[in-house]
Amino acid sequence: MNGGKFVKLYELTVSQLSSLLKKKEINAVELTRTVLDRIVEAEPVLDCYINIIEEQAVERAEKVQKMMDAGELYSPLAGIPMAVKDNICTEGIPTTCASKMLQDFVPPYNAAVMQKLYNNGAILLGKLNMDEFAMGSSTENSYFKKTKNPWNHDRVPGGSSGGCAAAVAAGEAIYSLGTDTGGSLRQPSALCGVTGFKPTYGSVSRFGLIGYASSFDQIGPVAKDVTDSALVLNAIAGHDSQDSTSAGIKYPDYTESLVNNVKNMKIGIPSEYMRNNTSEDVRKAVSEAIELFEKLGAKCEEFSLPIMEYVLPTYCIITFAEASSNLGRYDGVKYGHRAKDYKDLGELYKRTRDEGFGSEVKRRIILGTYVLSAGQYDKYYKKALQARRVICHELNRAFDKYDLIMGPTSPSTAFRFGTKVEDPAEMYKNDVLTMPANIAGLPAISVPCGFDGDSMPIGLQFIGKQFGESTLLRAAYTFEQNTDFHKNKPVIKPVI
């Protein structure tokens, strides 16, 4: 290979690039510069990044290359440039949550996942755009900018990890780390035609993840294929004593599950996923996936999951309540935005929080505060916790019968800007298919499975049982090995 010049390096996967790096056909600095060039090319169109750290990235690439040359770094992630969602703390690098409230916040410490990635020789390119405080499904709620869908620049990339998905799809990062609270990682992955993995709750440390809903949030990889997802997961999963909710299990080598075989796998498709809001194109793509799985020897069956009706209210009540508490700390006193005009402490708080938060965040805090308030607690919060147990129970019952649950990731493909952001209740419905995995803490993955009539990507979702990543990865890998959807790349039309 001629130094990889015939192939656009930024279009290759982690495993491909790792191989080239190990064979010394390319080096980390060259690779990093290539991706940085791609960022320069695509950013004016797509606006994936809030902050790009070119100099630091190149410096780091030089260091990493030296370490690789000295035989000190063996990880498949070594020398590979990547980016993370801007709600993951990066020491010395601004971490804004796409909010005015944290516009100038520079964390004095790294999130646990960042430390792990650095230990693996990863090269950070910058921080990716998102919906403010991870609240949204389109990245339209960012204080700074709107990220465009690489497949059609009039459409949203999904959210809240819109920047993560768009960057990977467009080659502006070889992989990224996003976060998933109700589908925030899987839905944009589906809408942008890439692979997004939400691990079992507790598998990836939340230390350094700026919290939205503590019992729902998980960090996961957004990557070009299932193999890359497994490689990244190997690096970031693991017990962390700094996070009391971190699972103390024995973590596997996730790449051992990359096996092309689904014979006798029992797959259940909830009928609720295939009707209601789900568009015809999406249903068609998923139906074709079902056919493929049957051909490959799996047993697919539709089943009823009536508890789906209560998923959205349960999600909203609990996450909004947790958010209202987690976001209380933003008060202009210790860090972040501080109002300029105030005559006393009360005004300092109120103006800071009114000025610093966007309207979606404020709405969720108001609702979250309401459902926890005296007189409403039993009716809403307590009820939602009970509903959560019922939903978990129902999903576990499904896993008595099936190895996997499968269905579309999102009921529709990417919508146009401005079409849903005015109606939050409508916006939330985009995530109903992804929310169950967060409610029950289950692992779930979205892989590309087709395109609609407008050539917009469609995502296929697998949900596994708790710590059932191996089955998930095997099914997703098998699907990928027998299709080509993940190999498609969007064409970025440059701004004239």
Binding site: T95, C97, P107, A111, G208, I210, S325, G328, D331, V333
Partner: protein, 476 residues
């Protein structure tokens, strides 16, 4: 009309762990502002709490020592409110399932024994400290104290007077110190007390409207506040006024309480279980393991002293009022059998000297064995009782052993008859008037002359010998 005062107490005790409750910052007292903090205890985004095991153990210990039931299942909850000393806008505390409940502490006031029921004990984190800046234009916040581990001990409204409140606090402090979970230094803020108080006509069962006074930081303040506030309630009611259910601030300097208008509306804390912290299961095995580490508690020790050493209740009470004193007492008794003397020296001179020199019992500059040694010297007659008082003071000055001090300064009792006889002769020569008085029948003059001999001998002459020689010579 006679009124009954009904009091309940909420006591916050800082636990003497090495690190804070949810992070590894030190719990050391003092320190420049904001030098004992981290992202966790200063409320930074992305930080997470991890519970200090020793805090749980100390809370269980405190519960066992106060006869509580230890919950087999307990959890942490968030108490949400906005105040600058609370970095995260919520305090991690315990709401509906405290770690301990339904205990009691026995008190004795004016000879009457009574049980004050402990409703609950729960774990929580402390908030930071607010200070006013020097111009008085703003307030400054120090988070060193944020995240310090606390237990909150809540009583039923069983207390009926300021004396009972003091007795309760004394016993609670003693217990917590004995089991080594808190040093209970009110002046350092490691013990704080809130008072809930109401009055009702004697015989009435229904409780009156209560007011609350927070953060009283000395036992004296608790007593003064209770006395003032109960009087205020009674005066108000008698004059036809109304008591408002409110929090009042106690001004210890001025000696009155005043309404805190800003906290009129009852804050809705929106308690909910903290999703960042898994629940705590305490099995019987763990409880028994902790129970086996409990030392003899103050009340039990007091009873034992009364029995074993035949000490009166009052004395036994003082000797068991603090673990340090009690240990000092017992250590001294390993070297001498003279219980009465040890007890008297501790209760008398030792306590007095500590007070005069503003020392804590922990800072006695010599080991208990030295007290025993000194008592032995008195018993053997090597020094007089009067001289011993001087020696004792010098032990505090230098920390040296009593024999060393006696030897270095030549303080032994002089029993050399010839030497004393010389001094007696000298004194008699110098005080002809007194001699004459004595011979004239004024026996009191003998005392004066004895005093003069003692003075001349710098207190070292053996008193009985002086008496005998003087009498002999006077009666010649």
């Amino acid at each position: 009309m006679n009124y009954e005062v009904v009091i309940g107490l909420e006591v916050h005790a800082e636990l003497s762990t090495n690190s804070k409750i949810f992070c590894s910052c030190t719990t050391e007292f003092g320190g420049d502002p904001n030098t004992h903090t981290c992202p966790g205890c200063s409320g930074m985004p992305g930080s997470l709490p991890v519970l200090n095991r020793r805090v749980v153990e100390y809370a269980i210990k405190a519960g066992l020592a106060t006869n509580c039931i230890i919950s087999n299942y307990t959890k942490m909850d968030r108490k949400n409110y906005f105040y600058p000393d609370l970095p995260g806008a919520y305090q991690i505390s315990q709401y509906d399932i405290p770690i301990c409940k339904n205990g009691y502490i026995e008190i004795e006031v004016e000879g009457k024994k009574k049980r004050i029921r402990v409703t609950r004990i729960h774990m929580e984190e402390d908030a930071g400290k607010l200070m006013h800046d020097e111009f008085g234009a703003g307030s400054l916040i120090d988070y060193n104290r944020a995240g310090m581990p606390l237990v909150e001990i809540v009583t039923e409204p069983d207390i009926r007077s300021a004396e009972e409140a003091k007795a309760f606090l004394d016993n609670l402090k003693s217990i917590l110190q004995f089991i080594d979970v808190s040093d209970c230094k009110m002046e350092e803020g490691s013990l704080r007390c809130d008072v809930n108080i109401s009055v009702r006509p004697e015989g009435e069962e229904k409780l009156g409207v209560r007011t609350e006074m927070k953060n009283l930081n000395s036992f004296k303040a608790v007593i003064s506040a209770i006395e003032y506030e109960s009087k205020r309630h009674i005066d108000e009611i008698e004059s036809g006024g109304v008591i408002y259910r409110e929090t009042r601030r106690w001004d210890d300097d001025k000696g009155f309480s005043y309404s805190m208008r800003s906290k009129e509306q009852a804050e809705d804390y929106r308690y909910f279980p903290d999703p960042d912290l898994p629940p705590i299961i305490i099995d019987q095995e763990w409880i028994e393991k902790i129970r086996s580490t409990l030392p003899e508690l103050p009340e039990a020790r007091k009873q034992r002293y009364m029995k074993e050493y035949d000490l009166p209740a009052y004395d036994a009470g003082i000797l068991t009022s603090s673990k340090v004193i009690s240990n000092f007492f017992e250590k001294a008794l390993r070297k001498t059998d003279n219980v009465k003397a040890v007890s008297n020296w501790i209760m008398g001179d030792l306590m007095r000297i500590l007070k005069d020199r503003k020392l804590e019992v922990e800072n006695i500059p010599f080991p208990a064995e030295y007290l025993a040694d000194m008592i032995s010297l008195i018993d053997k007659g090597t020094i007089s009782g009067t001289m011993a008082k001087k020696v004792f003071e010098k032990m505090f000055d230098s920390g040296k052993a009593p024999e060393v001090i006696v030897k270095e300064e030549g303080l032994e009792v002089v029993t050399d008859e010839a030497a004393i006889a010389k001094i007696v002769d000298k004194v008699l020569d110098n005080n002809p008037g007194s001699v004459a008085d004595y011979k004239a029948g004024k026996k009191k003059a003998l005392g004066f002359l004895v005093g003069q001999v003692m003075k001349e001998s710098k207190g070292k002459a053996e008193p009985q010998l002086v008496n005998r020689l003087l009498s002999e010579k006077l009666n010649e």
